[in-house]
Protein backbone atom coordinates (compact mmCIF):
# COMPACT_ATOMS: atom_id res chain seq x y z
CA UNK A 1 0.00 0.00 0.00
CA UNK A 2 1.07 3.56 -0.69
CA UNK A 3 2.48 5.24 2.45
CA UNK A 4 1.88 8.88 1.41
CA UNK A 5 5.04 9.84 3.34
CA UNK A 6 6.97 12.63 1.61
CA UNK A 7 10.19 12.07 3.56
CA UNK A 8 10.20 8.36 2.75
CA UNK A 9 9.61 9.11 -0.94
CA UNK A 10 12.55 11.52 -0.96
CA UNK A 11 14.78 8.99 0.80
CA UNK A 12 13.86 6.29 -1.74
CA UNK A 13 14.57 8.70 -4.60
CA UNK A 14 18.02 9.45 -3.16
CA UNK A 15 18.74 5.74 -2.89
CA UNK A 16 17.57 5.06 -6.45
CA UNK A 17 19.61 8.04 -7.68
CA UNK A 18 22.81 6.17 -6.91
CA UNK A 19 21.64 2.60 -7.60
CA UNK A 20 19.72 2.72 -10.89
CA UNK A 21 21.29 2.39 -14.35
CA UNK A 22 21.82 5.81 -15.92
CA UNK A 23 20.43 4.65 -19.29
CA UNK A 24 16.70 5.45 -19.27
CA UNK A 25 15.99 2.53 -21.62
CA UNK A 26 17.31 0.18 -18.95
CA UNK A 27 15.20 1.83 -16.24
CA UNK A 28 12.04 1.38 -18.28
CA UNK A 29 13.06 -2.18 -19.13
CA UNK A 30 13.46 -2.90 -15.40
CA UNK A 31 10.10 -1.30 -14.64
CA UNK A 32 8.38 -3.30 -17.37
CA UNK A 33 9.98 -6.57 -16.22
CA UNK A 34 8.95 -5.96 -12.61
CA UNK A 35 5.38 -5.05 -13.61
CA UNK A 36 5.04 -8.05 -15.94
CA UNK A 37 6.52 -10.50 -13.43
CA UNK A 38 4.20 -9.20 -10.72
CA UNK A 39 1.25 -9.86 -13.02
CA UNK A 40 0.29 -6.18 -13.20
CA UNK A 41 0.39 -5.90 -16.99
CA UNK A 42 1.03 -8.10 -20.02
CA UNK A 43 3.67 -7.00 -22.55
CA UNK A 44 1.06 -7.29 -25.30
CA UNK A 45 -1.10 -4.78 -23.45
CA UNK A 46 1.72 -2.23 -23.61
CA UNK A 47 1.92 -2.89 -27.36
CA UNK A 48 -1.83 -2.24 -27.53
CA UNK A 49 -1.45 1.12 -25.75
CA UNK A 50 1.34 2.15 -28.11
CA UNK A 51 -0.83 1.30 -31.09
CA UNK A 52 -3.87 3.02 -29.58
CA UNK A 53 -2.01 6.32 -29.24
CA UNK A 54 -0.35 6.10 -32.65
CA UNK A 55 -3.37 4.96 -34.69
CA UNK A 56 -6.55 5.90 -32.84
CA UNK A 57 -6.04 8.61 -30.21
CA UNK A 58 -4.29 11.77 -31.34
CA UNK A 59 -4.76 15.35 -32.48
CA UNK A 60 -6.96 14.19 -35.36
CA UNK A 61 -9.66 13.76 -32.73
CA UNK A 62 -9.42 17.38 -31.59
CA UNK A 63 -9.34 18.49 -35.23
CA UNK A 64 -12.68 16.75 -35.87
CA UNK A 65 -14.18 18.50 -32.84
CA UNK A 66 -12.98 21.92 -34.08
CA UNK A 67 -14.23 21.27 -37.63
CA UNK A 68 -17.66 20.32 -36.28
CA UNK A 69 -17.71 23.51 -34.18
CA UNK A 70 -16.95 25.55 -37.31
CA UNK A 71 -19.75 23.95 -39.31
CA UNK A 72 -22.47 23.23 -36.71
CA UNK A 73 -23.56 26.21 -34.59
CA UNK A 74 -25.57 24.02 -32.22
CA UNK A 75 -22.58 21.77 -31.59
CA UNK A 76 -20.38 24.80 -31.09
CA UNK A 77 -22.64 26.25 -28.43
CA UNK A 78 -22.70 22.88 -26.64
CA UNK A 79 -18.91 22.65 -26.90
CA UNK A 80 -18.42 26.09 -25.39
CA UNK A 81 -20.97 25.33 -22.65
CA UNK A 82 -19.65 21.90 -21.64
CA UNK A 83 -16.88 20.41 -23.75
CA UNK A 84 -16.74 17.17 -21.75
CA UNK A 85 -20.35 16.42 -22.71
CA UNK A 86 -20.01 17.67 -26.29
CA UNK A 87 -17.09 15.41 -27.23
CA UNK A 88 -19.17 12.39 -26.20
CA UNK A 89 -20.84 12.82 -29.61
CA UNK A 90 -17.61 11.39 -31.00
CA UNK A 91 -16.81 8.97 -28.15
CA UNK A 92 -13.69 11.06 -27.50
CA UNK A 93 -14.19 11.52 -23.76
CA UNK A 94 -11.60 9.85 -21.55
CA UNK A 95 -8.19 10.26 -20.03
CA UNK A 96 -7.83 13.80 -18.62
CA UNK A 97 -10.93 15.23 -20.27
CA UNK A 98 -13.40 14.77 -17.42
CA UNK A 99 -13.39 18.56 -17.02
CA UNK A 100 -12.69 19.86 -20.51
CA UNK A 101 -13.16 23.51 -21.44
CA UNK A 102 -13.05 24.98 -24.94
CA UNK A 103 -11.73 28.53 -25.25
CA UNK A 104 -12.19 30.47 -28.46
CA UNK A 105 -9.76 32.69 -30.32
CA UNK A 106 -11.20 35.89 -31.76
CA UNK A 107 -9.84 38.92 -33.58
CA UNK A 108 -9.36 40.52 -30.14
CA UNK A 109 -8.13 37.57 -28.05
CA UNK A 110 -5.70 34.70 -28.36
CA UNK A 111 -5.56 31.73 -25.98
CA UNK A 112 -2.59 29.55 -25.09
CA UNK A 113 -2.36 26.56 -22.73
CA UNK A 114 0.45 25.40 -20.43
CA UNK A 115 0.90 23.42 -17.23
CA UNK A 116 3.72 24.98 -15.20
CA UNK A 117 3.68 22.44 -12.36
CA UNK A 118 3.84 19.26 -14.45
CA UNK A 119 2.57 18.80 -18.00
CA UNK A 120 -1.20 18.30 -17.76
CA UNK A 121 -2.74 17.77 -21.21
CA UNK A 122 -6.10 16.62 -22.66
CA UNK A 123 -4.78 13.24 -23.79
CA UNK A 124 -8.03 11.68 -24.98
CA UNK A 125 -8.60 14.33 -27.66
CA UNK A 126 -5.05 15.50 -28.49
CA UNK A 127 -3.09 12.29 -27.87
CA UNK A 128 0.34 12.39 -26.30
CA UNK A 129 1.79 15.88 -25.92
CA UNK A 130 4.76 17.10 -27.98
CA UNK A 131 8.13 17.11 -26.20
CA UNK A 132 8.30 20.92 -26.26
CA UNK A 133 5.09 21.13 -24.19
CA UNK A 134 6.88 19.21 -21.43
CA UNK A 135 10.14 21.18 -21.68
CA UNK A 136 11.36 23.36 -18.82
CA UNK A 137 11.63 26.24 -21.31
CA UNK A 138 7.94 26.16 -22.27
CA UNK A 139 6.69 25.50 -18.74
CA UNK A 140 8.74 28.34 -17.26
CA UNK A 141 8.30 30.96 -19.97
CA UNK A 142 4.74 30.49 -21.25
CA UNK A 143 3.28 32.38 -18.29
CA UNK A 144 5.97 35.06 -18.02
CA UNK A 145 6.82 35.97 -21.61
CA UNK A 146 4.15 34.28 -23.71
CA UNK A 147 4.54 36.67 -26.64
CA UNK A 148 8.25 35.83 -26.90
CA UNK A 149 7.36 32.13 -26.74
CA UNK A 150 4.78 32.60 -29.50
CA UNK A 151 7.40 34.37 -31.62
CA UNK A 152 9.58 31.26 -31.37
CA UNK A 153 6.67 29.35 -32.91
CA UNK A 154 6.51 31.96 -35.69
CA UNK A 155 3.47 33.77 -34.29
CA UNK A 156 3.77 37.58 -34.11
CA UNK A 157 0.79 38.52 -31.99
CA UNK A 158 -0.35 42.08 -32.76
CA UNK A 159 -0.32 44.50 -29.81
CA UNK A 160 -4.07 44.99 -30.06
CA UNK A 161 -4.78 41.29 -29.51
CA UNK A 162 -5.05 40.34 -25.84
CA UNK A 163 -3.34 37.12 -24.82
CA UNK A 164 -4.74 34.83 -22.13
CA UNK A 165 -2.53 32.00 -20.89
CA UNK A 166 -4.38 29.12 -19.20
CA UNK A 167 -2.08 27.46 -16.65
CA UNK A 168 -3.95 24.15 -16.32
CA UNK A 169 -2.62 22.76 -13.05
CA UNK A 170 -5.92 21.43 -11.61
CA UNK A 171 -8.01 18.72 -13.32
CA UNK A 172 -9.57 21.14 -15.81
CA UNK A 173 -8.15 20.80 -19.31
CA UNK A 174 -8.36 23.22 -22.20
CA UNK A 175 -8.69 23.01 -25.96
CA UNK A 176 -8.27 26.18 -27.98
CA UNK A 177 -10.81 26.75 -30.75
CA UNK A 178 -8.80 28.46 -33.49
CA UNK A 179 -10.41 30.84 -35.98
CA UNK A 180 -11.68 29.31 -39.21
CA UNK A 181 -9.47 30.62 -41.99
CA UNK A 182 -10.82 32.57 -44.93
CA UNK A 183 -11.05 30.72 -48.21
CA UNK A 184 -12.74 27.67 -46.68
CA UNK A 185 -16.33 28.50 -47.58
CA UNK A 186 -18.20 25.40 -48.61
CA UNK A 187 -15.64 23.00 -47.16
CA UNK A 188 -17.14 20.06 -45.32
CA UNK A 189 -16.08 19.07 -41.80
CA UNK A 190 -13.70 16.32 -42.99
CA UNK A 191 -11.81 18.72 -45.23
CA UNK A 192 -11.72 21.38 -42.52
CA UNK A 193 -10.39 18.89 -39.95
CA UNK A 194 -7.41 18.36 -42.25
CA UNK A 195 -6.14 21.91 -41.69
CA UNK A 196 -6.55 22.04 -37.89
CA UNK A 197 -3.11 21.53 -36.34
CA UNK A 198 -2.26 20.21 -32.90
CA UNK A 199 -0.39 23.40 -32.03
CA UNK A 200 -3.40 25.55 -32.94
CA UNK A 201 -5.43 23.64 -30.34
CA UNK A 202 -2.73 24.29 -27.71
CA UNK A 203 -2.49 27.92 -28.83
CA UNK A 204 1.07 28.08 -30.11
CA UNK A 205 -0.22 28.57 -33.65
CA UNK A 206 -2.82 31.20 -34.56
CA UNK A 207 -3.47 31.61 -38.28
CA UNK A 208 -4.46 28.36 -39.95
CA UNK A 209 -4.16 28.15 -43.71
CA UNK A 210 -6.74 27.03 -46.26
CA UNK A 211 -4.60 24.37 -47.88
CA UNK A 212 -5.72 20.85 -48.57
Amino acid sequence: MTNFDSDKAAELHRHLHSHLPSDPALRVKALESLAVERGLVAPETIDAWVEAYSEHIGPMRGAQVIARAWTDPDFKSRLMENATEAIKDFGFEGNATGHLHAVENTDAQHNMVVCTLCSCYPFSILGMSPAWYKSAAYRSRAVREPRAVLAEFGVRLPDDVALRVWDSTAELRYIVVPQRPEGTDGWDADRLAGIVTRNSMIGTERDLRAEG
Binding site: F4, L31, E152, R164
Partner: protein
Protein backbone atom coordinates in the same frame (compact mmCIF):
# COMPACT_ATOMS: atom_id res chain seq x y z
CA UNK B 1 6.02 22.31 -1.94
CA UNK B 2 8.61 24.83 -3.02
CA UNK B 3 10.36 22.33 -5.25
CA UNK B 4 12.30 22.35 -8.49
CA UNK B 5 9.14 21.36 -10.36
CA UNK B 6 7.54 24.78 -9.80
CA UNK B 7 8.86 26.21 -13.06
CA UNK B 8 6.37 28.99 -13.87
CA UNK B 9 8.23 32.27 -14.38
CA UNK B 10 11.70 30.82 -13.78
CA UNK B 11 14.32 32.26 -16.11
CA UNK B 12 17.33 30.83 -17.86
CA UNK B 13 15.82 27.75 -19.49
CA UNK B 14 16.53 28.95 -23.02
CA UNK B 15 14.44 28.70 -26.18
CA UNK B 16 11.51 26.29 -26.53
CA UNK B 17 12.58 23.26 -28.61
CA UNK B 18 9.94 24.04 -31.23
CA UNK B 19 11.40 21.92 -34.03
CA UNK B 20 13.51 19.32 -32.24
CA UNK B 21 10.75 18.68 -29.71
CA UNK B 22 7.75 18.40 -32.01
CA UNK B 23 7.32 14.63 -31.73
CA UNK B 24 5.70 13.10 -28.65
CA UNK B 25 8.18 10.22 -28.60
CA UNK B 26 11.81 9.96 -29.66
CA UNK B 27 12.60 6.46 -28.40
CA UNK B 28 10.81 3.14 -28.12
CA UNK B 29 11.37 3.07 -24.37
CA UNK B 30 9.33 6.27 -24.11
CA UNK B 31 6.42 4.52 -25.84
CA UNK B 32 6.77 1.57 -23.46
CA UNK B 33 6.77 3.94 -20.49
CA UNK B 34 3.61 5.66 -21.72
CA UNK B 35 1.88 2.30 -22.22
CA UNK B 36 2.93 1.08 -18.78
CA UNK B 37 1.64 4.21 -17.11
CA UNK B 38 -1.71 3.92 -18.87
CA UNK B 39 -2.27 0.69 -16.96
CA UNK B 40 -1.85 2.56 -13.67
CA UNK B 41 0.00 -0.39 -12.12
CA UNK B 42 -0.45 0.79 -8.50
CA UNK B 43 -4.11 0.74 -7.40
CA UNK B 44 -3.55 2.29 -3.97
CA UNK B 45 -1.88 5.51 -5.16
CA UNK B 46 -3.58 8.75 -6.18
CA UNK B 47 -2.74 11.01 -9.12
CA UNK B 48 -1.65 13.63 -6.59
CA UNK B 49 0.76 11.20 -4.93
CA UNK B 50 2.25 10.37 -8.35
CA UNK B 51 2.79 14.10 -9.00
CA UNK B 52 4.16 14.64 -5.50
CA UNK B 53 6.52 11.72 -6.00
CA UNK B 54 7.95 13.49 -9.05
CA UNK B 55 8.40 16.63 -6.98
CA UNK B 56 10.38 14.66 -4.37
CA UNK B 57 12.95 13.48 -6.95
CA UNK B 58 16.57 14.50 -6.47
CA UNK B 59 16.39 18.08 -7.85
CA UNK B 60 19.24 17.66 -10.32
CA UNK B 61 17.54 14.53 -11.68
CA UNK B 62 14.25 16.40 -12.10
CA UNK B 63 15.90 18.96 -14.35
CA UNK B 64 18.11 16.60 -16.34
CA UNK B 65 15.87 13.57 -16.85
CA UNK B 66 13.37 13.76 -19.70
CA UNK B 67 9.64 13.54 -19.09
CA UNK B 68 9.25 9.77 -19.49
CA UNK B 69 12.56 9.11 -17.74
CA UNK B 70 11.18 10.93 -14.70
CA UNK B 71 8.07 8.74 -14.88
CA UNK B 72 10.21 5.57 -14.84
CA UNK B 73 12.25 6.80 -11.88
CA UNK B 74 9.11 7.82 -10.02
CA UNK B 75 7.34 4.53 -10.69
CA UNK B 76 10.33 2.63 -9.34
CA UNK B 77 10.21 4.75 -6.18
CA UNK B 78 6.48 4.03 -5.88
CA UNK B 79 7.06 0.28 -6.43
CA UNK B 80 9.54 0.32 -3.54
CA UNK B 81 7.27 2.40 -1.32
CA UNK B 82 4.24 0.20 -1.99
CA UNK B 83 6.18 -3.01 -1.53
CA UNK B 84 5.47 -4.14 -5.10
CA UNK B 85 9.20 -4.79 -5.40
CA UNK B 86 12.08 -4.56 -2.93
CA UNK B 87 15.03 -2.29 -3.62
CA UNK B 88 17.09 -5.41 -4.35
CA UNK B 89 14.51 -6.58 -6.91
CA UNK B 90 14.39 -3.12 -8.48
CA UNK B 91 18.17 -3.04 -8.85
CA UNK B 92 18.13 -6.57 -10.29
CA UNK B 93 15.25 -5.72 -12.62
CA UNK B 94 13.42 -8.92 -11.71
CA UNK B 95 11.25 -10.17 -8.86
CA UNK B 96 12.21 -13.19 -6.79
CA UNK B 97 8.75 -14.79 -6.87
CA UNK B 98 6.91 -14.10 -10.16
CA UNK B 99 3.12 -14.05 -10.16
CA UNK B 100 0.90 -15.52 -12.91
CA UNK B 101 0.91 -13.45 -16.09
CA UNK B 102 -1.72 -10.76 -16.52
CA UNK B 103 -4.23 -11.23 -19.32
CA UNK B 104 -3.34 -9.38 -22.53
CA UNK B 105 -5.65 -6.61 -23.79
CA UNK B 106 -6.31 -5.74 -27.41
CA UNK B 107 -6.00 -2.28 -28.94
CA UNK B 108 -9.79 -2.06 -29.13
CA UNK B 109 -10.02 -2.84 -25.43
CA UNK B 110 -7.55 -0.17 -24.37
CA UNK B 111 -9.19 2.46 -26.63
CA UNK B 112 -12.45 1.68 -24.83
CA UNK B 113 -10.58 1.81 -21.50
CA UNK B 114 -9.53 5.40 -22.32
CA UNK B 115 -13.13 6.38 -23.03
CA UNK B 116 -14.47 4.70 -19.91
CA UNK B 117 -11.70 6.30 -17.84
CA UNK B 118 -13.24 9.77 -18.10
CA UNK B 119 -12.77 10.71 -14.46
CA UNK B 120 -14.90 13.26 -12.61
CA UNK B 121 -12.96 15.02 -9.86
CA UNK B 122 -15.93 17.00 -8.54
CA UNK B 123 -17.90 16.06 -5.44
CA UNK B 124 -20.70 17.54 -3.37
CA UNK B 125 -19.47 20.54 -1.35
CA UNK B 126 -19.41 20.38 2.45
CA UNK B 127 -19.96 24.11 2.80
CA UNK B 128 -21.26 27.00 0.70
CA UNK B 129 -18.76 28.79 -1.50
CA UNK B 130 -17.14 31.85 0.11
CA UNK B 131 -16.52 33.60 -3.19
CA UNK B 132 -18.48 34.37 -6.34
CA UNK B 133 -17.69 35.14 -9.95
CA UNK B 134 -16.40 38.70 -10.20
CA UNK B 135 -14.92 38.77 -6.69
CA UNK B 136 -11.39 40.03 -6.19
CA UNK B 137 -9.26 37.62 -4.15
CA UNK B 138 -5.74 37.43 -2.76
CA UNK B 139 -3.71 34.23 -2.91
CA UNK B 140 -1.80 32.92 0.10
CA UNK B 141 1.79 34.10 0.15
CA UNK B 142 3.25 30.90 1.57
CA UNK B 143 3.16 27.23 0.71
CA UNK B 144 0.76 25.20 2.82
CA UNK B 145 1.27 21.49 2.26
CA UNK B 146 3.80 18.96 0.98
CA UNK B 147 1.87 19.05 -2.29
CA UNK B 148 -0.05 22.07 -3.54
CA UNK B 149 -1.28 23.40 -6.85
CA UNK B 150 -0.68 27.05 -5.96
CA UNK B 151 2.44 27.90 -7.99
CA UNK B 152 5.08 30.16 -6.51
CA UNK B 153 4.63 32.84 -9.16
CA UNK B 154 0.98 33.35 -8.16
CA UNK B 155 1.43 33.60 -4.40
CA UNK B 156 0.47 36.81 -2.62
CA UNK B 157 -1.18 38.15 -5.80
CA UNK B 158 -4.54 39.70 -6.45
CA UNK B 159 -6.80 38.19 -9.06
CA UNK B 160 -10.43 38.06 -10.15
CA UNK B 161 -12.66 35.00 -10.06
CA UNK B 162 -13.96 34.27 -13.57
CA UNK B 163 -15.47 30.81 -12.95
CA UNK B 164 -16.62 28.63 -10.06
CA UNK B 165 -16.55 24.86 -10.59
CA UNK B 166 -18.16 23.65 -7.36
CA UNK B 167 -16.10 21.45 -5.06
CA UNK B 168 -13.25 19.37 -6.49
CA UNK B 169 -10.87 16.97 -4.77
CA UNK B 170 -8.14 19.01 -3.08
CA UNK B 171 -4.74 17.81 -4.34
CA UNK B 172 -3.02 18.80 -1.09
CA UNK B 173 -5.10 16.11 0.63
CA UNK B 174 -5.03 13.71 -2.30
CA UNK B 175 -1.25 13.55 -1.98
CA UNK B 176 -1.86 12.32 1.58
CA UNK B 177 -4.26 9.66 0.34
CA UNK B 178 -7.32 11.54 1.58
CA UNK B 179 -10.36 12.53 -0.45
CA UNK B 180 -11.43 16.01 0.63
CA UNK B 181 -13.46 18.48 -1.41
CA UNK B 182 -12.87 22.21 -1.64
CA UNK B 183 -14.44 24.83 -3.89
CA UNK B 184 -12.47 25.34 -7.07
CA UNK B 185 -12.34 28.63 -8.97
CA UNK B 186 -10.66 29.92 -12.10
CA UNK B 187 -8.78 33.10 -11.20
CA UNK B 188 -7.58 35.60 -13.77
CA UNK B 189 -4.43 37.56 -12.94
CA UNK B 190 -3.24 40.47 -15.01
CA UNK B 191 0.22 39.94 -16.42
CA UNK B 192 1.24 43.20 -14.74
CA UNK B 193 0.12 41.93 -11.32
CA UNK B 194 2.34 38.89 -11.78
CA UNK B 195 5.33 40.28 -13.67
CA UNK B 196 5.36 44.05 -13.21
CA UNK B 197 4.83 47.15 -15.33
CA UNK B 198 6.72 45.90 -18.39
CA UNK B 199 4.14 43.18 -19.04
CA UNK B 200 1.56 43.72 -21.79
CA UNK B 201 -1.40 45.65 -20.31
CA UNK B 202 -4.03 43.43 -21.96
CA UNK B 203 -2.51 40.05 -21.13
CA UNK B 204 -3.75 37.71 -18.40
CA UNK B 205 -2.81 34.38 -16.85
CA UNK B 206 -5.49 32.12 -15.40
CA UNK B 207 -5.15 29.39 -12.78
CA UNK B 208 -7.58 26.99 -11.15
CA UNK B 209 -7.19 27.54 -7.43
CA UNK B 210 -8.96 25.96 -4.47
CA UNK B 211 -10.76 28.09 -1.90
CA UNK B 212 -8.25 27.20 0.83
CA UNK B 213 -5.54 28.98 -1.22
CA UNK B 214 -7.52 32.24 -1.22
CA UNK B 215 -8.36 35.09 1.16
CA UNK B 216 -10.35 38.31 0.62
CA UNK B 217 -8.24 41.16 -0.79
CA UNK B 218 -6.53 43.46 1.69
Amino acid sequence: MDGIHDLGGKQGHGPVPVDTGDAPFSHDWERRMWGLAREGLVPSMTIDWFRHGLEMMVPADYLTQSYFEKWATNYLMIFADDGIASLQEIEAGHVADPAPRAAAKTTEEVVEQVRAGCTDFSLPPDAPAKFSIGDKVLTLDHGTAPHTRLPGYARGRHGTIIAHHGAHLLPDEGARGRHVGDHLYTISFTARELWGPDAHPADTVTLELWESYLVPPR
